[in-house]
Amino acid sequence: MFKYFPHTNEDIHQMLEKIGVKSLDELFSEIPSEILLNRDYNVPSSHSELEIYSHINSLTAKNTQYTIFRGAGAYDVYVPSIISYLTSRQEFLTSYTPYQPEISQGTLQYIFEFQSMICELTGLDVANASMYDGPTATAESIFMATSVTRRNKVLLSSTLNPRVIEVVKTYAKYKGINIEMINEKNKVLDFEDLQSKLDNDVAAVVVGYPNFYGILEDHDKVRNILTNKELLIMNVEPRAMSVLKTPGEFGADIACGDGQMLGIPLSCGGPYVGFIAAKDSLLRKMPGRICGMTTDVDGKRGFVLTLQAREQHIRREKANSNICSNQSLMALHTVIYMSLMGKKGLQEVSLKSYSNAHYLHDELLKTNLFSKITDEEFFCEFVLRYHGDAKELEQKLLEHNILGGLVLDNNDILFCVTEKRTKEEMDYLVDIIRGDQ
């Protein structure tokens, strides 16, 4: 009949006979005739494999791959080839959520390893596996905070990634949570503004680390004034936590974010993977899947989904979150990445990005075409103010097959340098900007 349909006419005939109906149409006899489609869908005709390839080739010709100096929430990182080789094994790729633990130990164990690695990076006690992306993980984190504190206001730093802010605002608006923005001052959180906004209704303060501008803000100061049960929620880039002071060390209650830098390709924005890690005391408020270790009837080690009474399929309208399908395979992707890199590798890529970014930062300043707008420490992204028209510069770079930094207001440009950029690529970028190429 068709390559994905195994039914022969003889099969269909025999099966209809067993059922006791005369035709396939009769299987739908209860459907009111006025809503029957009675026509083909208005979509293209069936494509053979060769036709698919030639069509896809016509599409890929319309995409451009650049040398990328842009981050802002999606990073051009090194992706070891082994990862997709392993994640495309059908046992991982084509299996369902591990509700039957006896035949899902593979999925369950990597979830457990994911939780372990996220806890290790963030310095917190418990992690789930997994959330959709960084922004939705942040929104779910504020639900945890309002639920545990029974308060209804959340303060967001204006220095968070604007897409995190947008998504959190959307979620909060419908859930009925009040969001107040904490102003920024020279690209960092305005501490006095934060102080003035704290009151007895504040459930949590959400900050970025590194923040949207790549800046490392000193959140000890924030932690120290949260003395009235407010939670500190840190939206972090987890890979950098291999070298940076962790949310645990800052005394944060929740760390959340996007795991894309843990070896996930850019993929036009997804799939990536979100995560939430928290202090032990917040375990029962965590959304999503959590895997625990236990034993089977023979005393053998095994893994199961646990604490499921938190989740929608049991708690229904009383559940704190509605998440069901998540980004499990992408969690596996990051687990394999972290296993390959290990302690040394994670630290090396982080320091490489950090060092590269600082090199480019200094080289760009040397052109005298940019000026600094802040003296704060930064990680692998930084903002410089361009003396010319930043949009024109962006266009010029594209013509040289370079995706430059993200253009912000006032001709400010947010550059990003990952471990993938070589000295030659950075020098070439500077040359073009200077007009030497």
Partner: protein, 478 residues
């Protein structure tokens, strides 16, 4: 089989990566430097390959065998979809590239949305939601916002039948609305009289799964639509079971205003052990301006990315799970209009064939024809529980059906045999189910202690929840 964690295979000094040489790295300023130790696995490349290859062998996927998991539509996941989705021209695209430089990707997004709008009978579709439940949430935000913008502030309640998936009421709660649960008829369909009793000018919408979770088509759907219109409520279609109706009828034609789909069910993208999925949301024209940002539009001869001020806002980082969308796009093109129209028919044929073949051994929950899935209410003999039957199926190499759902069926056993399964596969499953029914009478102990052949046997879930061990660090600290 080895059940050590990758951490437990660690040997100090091993590593499995290579980076271009660099002489020296800058130091992180002390104030921001990590001071705690970092305990990550230190293993060789082959260690990693073996570890995860062996882990995969403890799983069960669709490529291995029949996966009749009800409500999950575990159909064959075509390999060409994955091949296309691994094309570097897509995987290397930065989501914040200028639209002109990613016309191919935007075309995929735009056309997939168009095709899905046609297939569901809706006017516009967003592909930004990451999963079915995410789609539900987005659909409900749209519902709430629609009433709110009309100044109809009192509409805060959503009617949901008690046979619904748990995500429905949970999504209503997250969207800041209130659930009005209505008891269903014994076949899971909406009881029109009960529906009338709860309808009021406070109802924002009615959320239905059609066919419902008992695999039964909501034959009063047009009457429900009239009632909804009369009371000013919107109709929401949970697309979890759309596979049954592919080619037959469209939610838009049934009168639904908002639809979400699961590309990882109906449109063949792999489940990935729990995700990534994709949960597109389609709406009728009057609601289209509310769809979340970013939007992909076709204007002036090119695809463009738009942020509309009328939208409910943003609900995802970028364009959702783009590579999943790309797989579904490939699937739709591969089947084309000539084959899409048979999906529902063959899926429903398969389900009824199983129903007829097993009805003497397992209690059919609803007599008559079912749609894409059949729900049994346990063994006719009642010799053992549904759980025992499911666990015994593991010994025979099958993934068990969904069990204990829907909640309104006692000892529920929900079998969904998608259209990609052949008669021989179904016959094999039927024979095994009959054998198990006989074993249940002759040797119930065998079932109660099943599975016997799996890498682990029944696990102690109570202890796992009472004394949670949730990370490697908990093991070494114990």
């Amino acid at each position: 089989m080895d059940s050590r964690l990758i951490f437990e295979k660690s040997h100090k000094g091993r590593f499995a990566y290579s980076l271009p040489k660099q002489d020296n790295y800058l130091e992180i300023p002390t104030k921001f430097k990590r001071t705690s130790s970092l305990n990550m696995p230190e293993v060789s490349e082959l260690d990693v390959v073996r570890h995860y290859t062996n882990l995969s062998r403890k799983n069960y996927g669709v490529d291995q065998g029949f996966y009749p998991l009800g409500s999950c539509t575990m159909k064959y996941n075509p390999k060409i979809n994955d091949f296309v989705a691994s094309n570097p021209s897509f995987t290397n695209l930065h989501p914040l590239q200028p639209a002109e430089s990613m016309q191919g990707a935007l075309e995929v997004y735009y056309k997939t949305a168009k095709y899905l709008a046609e297939i569901t009978g809706m006017d516009e579709v967003t592909l930004n939601p990451y999963a079915g439940a995410h789609g539900e949430l987005v659909g409900l935000m749209i519902m709430k916002e629609y009433h709110y913008r009309r100044g109809d502030y009192k509409r805060t309640k959503v009617i949901i039948p008690d046979s619904a998936h748990g995500t429905n009421p949970a999504s209503v709660n997250v969207a800041g609305m209130e659930v009005l649960e209505v008891a269903s008829n014994p076949d899971g369909t909406v009881n029109i009289e009960d529906l009338k009793a709860v309808l009021s000018d406070e109802v924002a919408g009615i959320m239905l799964t059609n066919p419902n979770t008992l695999g039964i088509f909501e034959k009063d759907i047009l009457a429900i639509k009239e009632l909804a219109r009369q009371y000013g409520a919107l109709l929401y279609y949970d697309g979890a079971n759309l596979n049954a109706l592919l080619g037959i009828t469209r939610p838009g034609d049934m009168g639904f205003d908002i639809v979400h789909l699961n590309l990882h069910k109906t449109f063949s993208t792999p489940h990935g052990g729990g995700g990534p999925g994709s949960g597109p949301v389609g709406v009728k024209k009057e609601l289209a301006e509310l769809l979340p940002n970013p939007r992909v539009v076709y204007e002036d001869g090119k695809y463009q990315i738009k942020y509309l001020p009328t939208a409910i806002g943003q609900i995802s980082n970028f364009f959702g799970n783009f590579l999943v969308v790309l797989r579904a796009y490939t699937y739709i093109l591969t089947l084309g209009k000539e084959n899409l129209k048979y999906v529902g028919k063959l899926a429903v044929l398969n389900a009824n064939y199983i129903k007829e073949s097993l009805k003497d051994y397992y209690q059919v929950a609803v007599p008559g024809l079912c749609k894409h899935e059949v729900v049994f209410s346990g063994l006719k003999s009642k010799a053992v529980s549904t759980l025992d039957v499911a666990k015994r199926l593991l010994d025979y190499g099958y993934h068990p059906p969904t069990i204990y759902f829907p909640l309104i069926v006692h000892e529920a056993l929900m079998v969904e045999p998608p259209e990609t399964e052949s008669k021989e596969i179904l016959d094999g499953f039927i024979e095994t189910m009959k054998t198990i029914a006989k074993e249940a009478i002759e040797n119930p102990e065998l079932l109660k202690t099943a599975p016997h052949n799996t890498v682990v046997r029944r696990l102690d879930e109570a202890t796992a929840a009472r004394k949670p061990i949730l990370k490697y660090q908990d093991i070494i600290n114990n």
